[in-house]
């Protein structure tokens, strides 16, 4: 499967909940429909909370992978 290339990136490491959820949604709000956002978040509470909150707002989580203590999410704006 070809690697997905994000249109924009948002580093939310060091940002706790709910600020990370809200910042991710704000970023998606200003992006074009269909474009892809790469979000970097911390392990622990952020990975528990950010993906479900993004999905409940209607966006599509294409991929999530752990690199060290961080997670990289690829989200498609719907």
């Amino acid at each position: 499967m070809a690697e997905i290339k994000p249109d924009e990136k948002l580093d939310l490491t060091g940002v706790t909940c709910p600020q990370n959820v809200a910042q991710a949604l704000l970023k998606l709000e200003i992006m074009e429909t269909g474009s892809i956002l790469e979000i970097i978040i911390d392990d622990g509470e952020p990975i528990q909370n950010v993906p479900p909150s993004i999905k409940v707002e209607g966006h599509k989580l294409l991929e999530q992978k752990k690199i060290g203590e961080k997670w990289i999410l690829l989200v498609k704006k719907i």
Binding site: G14, V21, A22, L26
Partner: protein
């Protein structure tokens, strides 16, 4: 009917645009921003939108801006937070003699807790000499706290130079920017500011909301412990309405208002000195806040001018809002070398973006009349 408000350094009237967003937001009945359901997230998004606007105004990352209840809390947080987090390194702090009471009283309290504080003098225009800051630094110094602009006399301090000195000496630099925010450029990166105090009600935003900028990497203890809001730096349920109103006030602020206020300030100073004899301008001649006028009318007590203008529904202040209720003369005026007896003669007139030339003409005529009556009494 006359109703002229010229006490904007104490607080400003809230902008209808800010009221509109606060009102709209309150009617949405959003949840607690810390709750991760849809209503909570809706509130959190608006908070983050405001955070982005305010952080951008000072050239900071949204990650480094935290909401508080206002300037007093931010100043307490900055100073006590740095003092307690860094006391192993040293217990010496530096500030000036003309800071806001929320800085001076906090410093004095820290002195009772074993810290040592240097209160720097200022010159006759209220300027702190950066060389004095450098001289005062010793191996135990952990913080320098110098205001961006003075609330009483409007002097804009050389914070960039002071920030540079602190950076070179590896000491934290805090500035209280409550009076200057949105009126004078604050660029935390360019000006080497580690911590900055901001508030909303001086810029036509709501009361009870402020912010603190804390550069990433600064070692600081929180003042309020609890639910862990604001990245564990400031616990307490979000004042969502206040935050969105603060964001709006910053969003609509602009440099043209500052320029207009500067022109009106100069117009007032020039004209009052033309029609009344023996008027002294306190504070800086050039590097001065666009909305600040502080005058001494020789041989007339400022309280009498204040009272007679108040009777005519013209609202000003004597020295500073905090000093108005006290009989002791303003610590700022004393620090710039004005004798105690003379300091009681000072009045502060502070403009807003809504102040008009016509209003100032009315005030000039009224002051002329009052001074005439008082000097002939």
């Amino acid at each position: 009917m006359i109703n002229i408000y010229l006490d904007n350094a104490a607080t400003t009237e809230i902008d209808p645009e800010a009221i509109k967003v606060i009102s709209f937001f309150q009617q949405l009945n959003t949840g607690n921003a810390s709750s991760l359901h849809k209503r909570g997230v809706a509130a959190a998004k608006e908070i983050e939108r405001a955070r982005q606007i305010i952080a951008a105004k000072i050239n900071a990352s949204f990650k480094d801006l935290f909401f508080t209840s206002g300037g007093t809390e931010s100043n307490n947080f900055a100073i006590k937070g740095i003092a307690f987090a860094n006391r192993e390194k040293g217990r010496h702090l530096i500030t000036s003699k003309i800071e806001h009471p929320s800085v001076i009283a906090t410093m004095e309290w820290l002195e009772t807790q074993g810290f040592i504080v240097t209160y720097l003098p200022v010159d006759k225009e209220g300027f702190i000499n950066p060389a004095d800051v450098e001289k005062a630094i010793n191996k135990k110094t952990i913080l320098v706290s110098i205001m961006h602009a003075n609330s009483e006399i409007g002097t804009i301090e050389p914070i960039q130079e002071i920030g540079m000195i602190c950076k070179k000496r590896d000491i934290y630099f805090h500035t209280d920017a409550c009076q200057s925010f949105t009126k004078v450029e604050l660029n935390v990166k360019k000006q080497n500011v580690d911590i900055a105090t901001l508030n909303a009600h001086k810029i036509h935003g709501p009361k009870g909301i402020g912010a603190i900028y804390i550069r990433k990497g600064v070692k600081i203890e929180p003042l309020l412990h609890g639910g862990g809001q604001e990245n564990n730096l400031r616990s307490g349920t979000y004042n969502t309405g206040g935050i969105v109103g603060f964001g709006k006030a910053v969003e609509i602020s602009n440099i043209h208002d500052s320029k207009r206020m500067s022109e009106l300030r100069d117009y007032f100073i020039h004209n009052i000195q033309n029609v009344v004899d023996d008027v002294i301008l306190n504070g800086a001649k050039k590097e001065r806040l666009c909305n600040n006028i502080n005058l001494i009318f020789k041989n007339v007590n400022g309280k009498k001018i204040f009272k007679k203008l108040n009777e005519r529904s013209i609202f000003i202040s004597t020295g500073s809002a905090c000093s108005s209720a006290k009989l002791t003369p303003s610590h700022v005026l004393i620090a710039i070398g004005i004798k105690s007896q003379i300091a009681h003669e000072a009045v502060r007139i502070s403009l807003s973006k809504w102040t008009t030339k016509e209003e100032l003409d009315i005030v000039i005529q009224n002051i002329k009349k009052i001074i005439g009556e008082e000097r002939n009494a």
